[in-house]
Structure formats: C-alpha cells, structure tokens
C-alpha cells in the first residue's frame, strides 16, 4: 500500500474503480475526474513505483524493465486491498498494464477502461502496423528527458534531500506533480515506448471500454481502432478532446464515459 501510495476515496459501498496513471506524472492526473467518480463509486488511486509519492526504494531497473512488473504491482495491490472485482481505468501505458493484469487474473476485474491506449508506439513495418513513431523518435524523447534533467535536478534537490525546516518547498515546488528521478523516468520511458502488447489484446476476457481522444499525437485514432478491433466485444468511444490526457483537457466527458461504462456493467 505504502509502496504505491494508495489513496482510497468516494462512496464506500459503491462499485470500485481503480485509476492508474500513465507515463509522465502521478495520481494527480486524475484530480479533475475524481470528484464526479467519487459520488457513486469507491475510487482507488495509486502511484506506480518510481512515480509521485511511491516508495522509490522499491524501484528496480530489472523488475520494471517490462510492463509485467507494473501488472504484478496492480495484482498485488488488488489482493492486498481485497475490494472485490474492480473496474480498472488505465491511462496511456497503464491501459496495457491493465490488459496484462486482467489477462492473468480476470476474476479480479469486472471491466477495463483503456484511456488513450496504444499496444505499440513504434511502427512495425513487418506487419504494416502504424503506431505513429519511429525508433529514432523514441530516442529523441529520451534526449528530451535527459536535457530536462538539469533543470529538474536543481528544482527537485530540496524534495529529494528532504528539507524539514522549509516545508513550503515541498508544497509549492514547481513541477511537484511530476517529480521523478531522472534515471527512473528514463527507464519508464524505455519500458513504455519499447513495449509491444498487441498479442495480449485478444486474450482480454472482461468487458472493455476503449476511450480515445479525437486528436491525440501519441495514440492516434487508428491505434484506438486497432485496440477496439482486437479486444473481443470491446466498446469504443471517442472523447471530444485534444492531446493525450483527456482527464485533464476534457474531464467531464472523460468522467461521463467511465460512469456510463461502470453503470452499464451492473
């Protein structure tokens, strides 16, 4: 629980909805949709190991070199919480974490919401699959992470070092929502953008909602359509949102899509 900085909120007797953030930030990503979801649902938030307020000491390059490590964490978390079967909402790369977890232990899930999912970001010439990126593009992203490292480390130092006599540093620090150890961010980027979970989609046996954005540079509509086509019986909705984070750019529509899906399951 501590490892993943688990936060439980909302209606105690409602259906359980687990919100998993993607690559980049932490559970704060959900803050604009949590109020709407919390009215009827028990909402479980957590940070992936290496992100936000998770236990950085629990991070290891080996364990988190594949999405299976993250899926392991989700299953462990669900077993520890034991809330009964849940609806798992995974954003971005966490949508594939949800797919892996639900394939391994379908009984723990009543449904999956895949928010802006992509089973593979890099194009695959062999099969004609278009993920939207080349291997060089991913290298450029890693470069961007590296070049922003210097800026971060300066800003992050007080947080990392701990500074009890100046608590305001911890509260008001710029970028505090996305504080990440640069080495961990780099490894997570590798894991995320080099993953290929296309073959896992067909194994999903729980009701699934694919929610994509109308205009998303990271997970373009044809990728959403691919995911929808591969997961048997899945539903596809396109949110009127720009960018890769509809829970921020179109929180109402995002919350509504999740609420509709969960209600229809009952």
């Amino acid at each position: 629980m501590k490892r993943n900085h688990v936060v439980v909120t909302g209606r105690g007797d409602g259906p359980v909805v687990v919100l998993a953030h993607g690559f980049g930030c932490d559970q704060n990503m959900w803050r604009l949709v949590v109020p709407a979801l919390a009215e009827d649902f028990k909402v479980v938030l957590f940070d992936h190991v290496g992100a936000g307020r998770s236990d950085l000491g629990a991070w290891s390059e080996e364990r988190y070199a594949s999405l299976d490590g993250y899926a392991d964490d989700v299953l462990q978390l669900l077993r520890a919480l034991d809330p009964g079967p849940v609806v798992f909402v995974g954003h971005s790369v966490s949508s594939m974490v949800g797919v892996l977890a639900a394939v391994r232990e379908p009984d723990l899930f009543t449904g999956l919401v895949l928010l802006t999912p992509s089973p593979r970001y890099v194009d695959d010439e062999a099969t004609g699959y278009r993920g939207g990126f080349s291997a060089e593009d991913i290298d450029e992203l890693l470069e961007s992470l590296d070049s922003n490292y210097l800026g971060w480390s300066g800003a992050m130092a007080p947080v990392i070092m701990g500074n009890p006599e100046r608590p305001e540093l911890g509260e008001e620090l710029t970028n505090s929502f996305c504080r990440t150890d640069p080495a961990i961010a780099r490894a997570f980027a590798h894991t995320t953008f080099r993953s290929d979970n296309r073959a896992d989609l067909a194994k999903v046996g729980v009701p699934t909602l694919v929610a994509q954005c109308s205009d998303d540079a990271i997970a373009p509509p044809e990728v959403g359509a691919f995911v929808h086509a591969r997961i048997p019986g899945s539903k596809l909705v396109t949110l009127p949102a720009t960018g890769h984070c509809p829970q921020l750019s179109a929180p109402d529509a995002t919350a509504e899509a999740i609420i509709d899906f969960v209600r229809a399951l009952r």
């Binding site: 930030c25 210097l150 800026g151 710029t174 540079a217 890769h244 921020l248 750019s249």
Partner: protein, 446 residues
C-alpha cells in the same frame, strides 16, 4: 545646456527629466507595445487551449522561417516541436501546465520550416477569465542554443563519469570473480594435498607387544603435500621394522618420491632386514629412478627392533642416511642423541656411507625420531634459539631431557605442544615417531 550629473542631485530624484534627457525618455515611453511584442528578444506565442496557434510574434516567425498565415489558425504549438519534444510535451509539459496553470524553464527543440532545429527554453502560463475558466495559453520561448551546448557538455561529462564508474564496477566484479575462482581452486588443491598426504602415512600404528608407540605429523602448509614419512611394521621372528625420513622438496614430485621410498623400504626390509642393506637398496632404487635432470633424494633413519627374550627390553639397530640423530630418553631421566655420524644422503651417489648404531631399550626408556622441520623452525627473538634464529638440535635435546623419564604418548603430546608454541615459525612439515618400553605391570615403577 545640459546639466552634467544633474541626476545625482537630491532635488533631481524622482522628478521628470528635462531637456534632451526628457525627450529621449519620452521617446522610450512611447516605444510601441506592438513593436515590443513583435520584435522582442524572445519568441511569443499565444495558443487556444487545444494548442491551436492564435498569435505569434515576428521574432519567432524569423527563427522558424514560417510566414504568419502558415501558422495562425492552421498549426498547433506541438507541430513546431520535434517528435521527441512532442512526446515530452504530451506526457509532461501539457499535464503540468493544465494542473499548475504555468510551467517554466522546459528545454525543447523547435523544428524550423527548413528542417533545422533550434533549442529553446519554454515558459507557458494559462490566461483565465474572471470566473477562472482557462481562455488561452501564453508562451515565451528563449533562444537556448548556447545554454544547450553547455548543458550537453555537462551531460556528456556526467555520462562519461557514470560510464567510468560502471567500468570500474565491472572491473571490480571481474576481479572478485577471479579471486573467487582462485580461492575455489586453492581449496580444491588443498583437499587434494590433504588426501594425498594421508595416503603417504600409515592410518594408525600398531604397537609391537611390549612397546608403546606414538606418532604425529605436522602439516606446515595446507596447499602442498610435504615430503616427510614414517612407518612401523612387523618383520619375521618377532622383530619390527621402523623408519622415518624426509624427501627433499614439496608438492606432487616429492610426494611421488615419498611413496616410492615408503614401499621400497618395506619391501627391502622383508628381503634383507639388515638396516644398512635396506638403505642401500633404497639408494639404488632412488638413484636409478631419478637420475639426470631431476635427482631426488631423502634423509632417513631405518631401524629394526628385536625383543630381548627373557627380559622386557628390546634391541634397536639403527641405520642413518644423512638424517638428524634420534634422541634417547632413559628411565633414569638422562637424555642423549644417538649419534649416527657421517651418514650420507640417500639417492644422491651410487654407494653412500651409511652410519649405524645399536642401542638397548629397557623399561622406562623412550626413543624419539624426528625430521628437521622441528629443529629448523624459526623462533621469536625472545625464544630459545640455536643462535641462527632456528630452534636447533640443542634446544630440542634440552626440551626432551626435561620430559625424561617419559613414555611415547607423553613425549609426542609434549612435542605437539612445542609445535603449537612455535606456530607459524614451523615452515616445513614435521614428522615425529616415538617408542617406549613400559614398565612391567608387576614391577613397581621407579
């Protein structure tokens, strides 16, 4: 006329400038806000919340090489970024801006119309309406070419340092593995040496009737097989053969000679038990077997024990080939060497001189045979020495004299204690063999 330095006077402070100064200042005040925006020393960009470019200044257009109408209403901010920068924007920049309302100092690269790239530092704020609704995003972009070059250098240096550290770690791990392998090999060899050593010594000694015997073998180094040997075995007509010797050198080659010497002595003693004949036979075998480039030789004491019928005593006939003399500890408490002077090394020359001596052992007498590992042991400056830093023959005689009268087991136990005391000073293997004639049970001990 302009008043030079007028601004320094107190009454000048805070008041409107006059004359030419005033004109210049006024001209500055009237610097067009539009011109300031358009030709500012940084790029300005205003976008709608979805990133659509609504307004862009001339500075940024000139950096990018685009015309205004190519961007406004047509392109998004992210379209101006490299693909990697776009990914970073989507996963970090946009979420942070959305959550915080502002974000600053982010390093990104612009992609100009001609494909060239330009590093910039980007700061954005969200402008909101009076009721807090986000309206648009204002972004400033600063030329960061110099700074990025510097940072790239820093980053490269850091990566090099990390690589050097990893390299050092790898080297350390390799060295540790090699050390472990060497250690494992050493232990394997030690086991081998110990096993081999055991095969060169009798597992236990059987005492002839009417005698007590004790022996000890001190291993100086577990890494190598030593060349010392001894044995005690029955011959015909109630007599017994015994020997104790020392092959020169250590290790496998010495062990082979030890083994050869041991079974040759036993076989020769059966063939002709005369001690001189036994050592002569051994000499023949060694000189024959090891001639030329790898001569092997040994020092050895060979003896035959014959019970003196009618008494409890024994006669001991000894032959020596270059070996330290045995020590005789009498029942009356006296101690002396059993000199076998002039005996030559066995295995060096074809016909060596072999020295002999004969002694009678009566109840209460003890005879001790030893190899020079004990007398050649290094001693501490405070210890008793033979004058050359070695324990020495005289010291050993004194030590054993203090034991007399004694028994074989008691003498060996005392000498084991002595070896322990000398500790690491004993740098060669040491073999000890003692025989004593016990007092008859019916006869009270003197």
């Amino acid at each position: 006329m302009v008043r030079a330095g007028g601004g320094d006077e107190p009454e000048g402070r805070g008041t409107a400038p006059e004359g030419d100064d005033a004109a210049r200042f006024s001209a500055m005040l009237e610097d067009s806000a539009v011109d300031l925006y358009e030709n500012a020393p940084c790029g300005y960009l205003s976008t709608l919340m979805d990133g659509q470019i609504a307004k862009v200044n001339t500075t940024l257009l000139s950096w990018l090489g685009y015309r205004r109408e190519e961007l406004v209403g047509r392109r998004r901010f992210t379209d101006l970024l490299t693909v990697g920068g776009r990914l970073y924007h989507e996963t970090h920049f946009a979420p942070l801006l959305s959550m915080q309302g502002e974000i600053g100092g982010i390093a990104l690269e612009l992609k100009a119309a001609d494909g060239t790239r330009m590093p910039v530092l980007v700061t954005s704020t969200v402008k909101t309406s009076d009721d807090g609704q986000p309206l648009l995003i204002r972004t400033t972009l600063f030329d960061a070419r110099d700074r990025r070059a510097y940072e790239t250098e820093l980053l490269r240096a850091r990566q090099e340092a990390e690589e050097a550290r990893r390299e050092a770690d790898r080297a350390r791990r390799t060295a540790e593995e090699a050390h472990r392998a060497v250690e494992a090999e050493r232990q394997r060899l030690q086991r081998l040496a110990t096993t081999l050593q055991r095969t060169l010594l009798p597992p236990s000694l059987t005492a002839p009737a009417g005698l007590e015997v004790a022996a000890h073998y001190h291993i100086a180094s577990a890494d190598e097989v030593g060349g010392d040997f001894y044995d005690l075995f029955p011959l015909a007509h109630g007599s017994w053969g015994l020997f104790l010797g020392d092959v020169c050198g250590k290790g496998a080659a010495a062990a082979a000679v030890t083994s050869l010497a041991r079974y040759t002595l036993r076989a020769a003693a059966v063939y002709d038990p005369d001690p001189v004949a036994v050592l002569a036979n051994l000499n023949t075998v060694l000189t024959h077997e090891y001639e030329g480039t790898d001569p092997r030789f040994c020092t050895v004491l060979f003896g035959v024990l014959t019970p003196d019928r009618g008494t409890a005593g024994f006669e001991l006939a000894l032959a020596a080939g270059g070996h330290p003399p045995a020590i005789l500890l009498r029942a009356d408490g006296s101690a002396r060497h059993l000199p076998t002077p002039g005996g030559q090394l066995i295995g060096v020359i074809p016909d060596p001189h072999i020295a002999t001596t004969t002694v009678r052992l009566d109840p209460g007498d003890t005879v001790l045979l030893y190899t020079d590992g004990l007398t050649e042991a290094h001693t501490t400056p405070l210890g008793r020495t033979g004058g050359d830093g070695r324990y020495g023959d005289a010291a050993l005689l004194d030590f054993t004299a203090a034991l007399a009268p004694t028994t074989a087991p008691a003498a060996i136990a005392a000498l084991q204690g002595l070896l322990d005391t000398l500790g690491s000073g004993v740098d060669d293997d040491t073999a000890l063999l003692a025989l004593s004639v016990p007092h008859p049970v019916s006869e009270p001990k003197q």
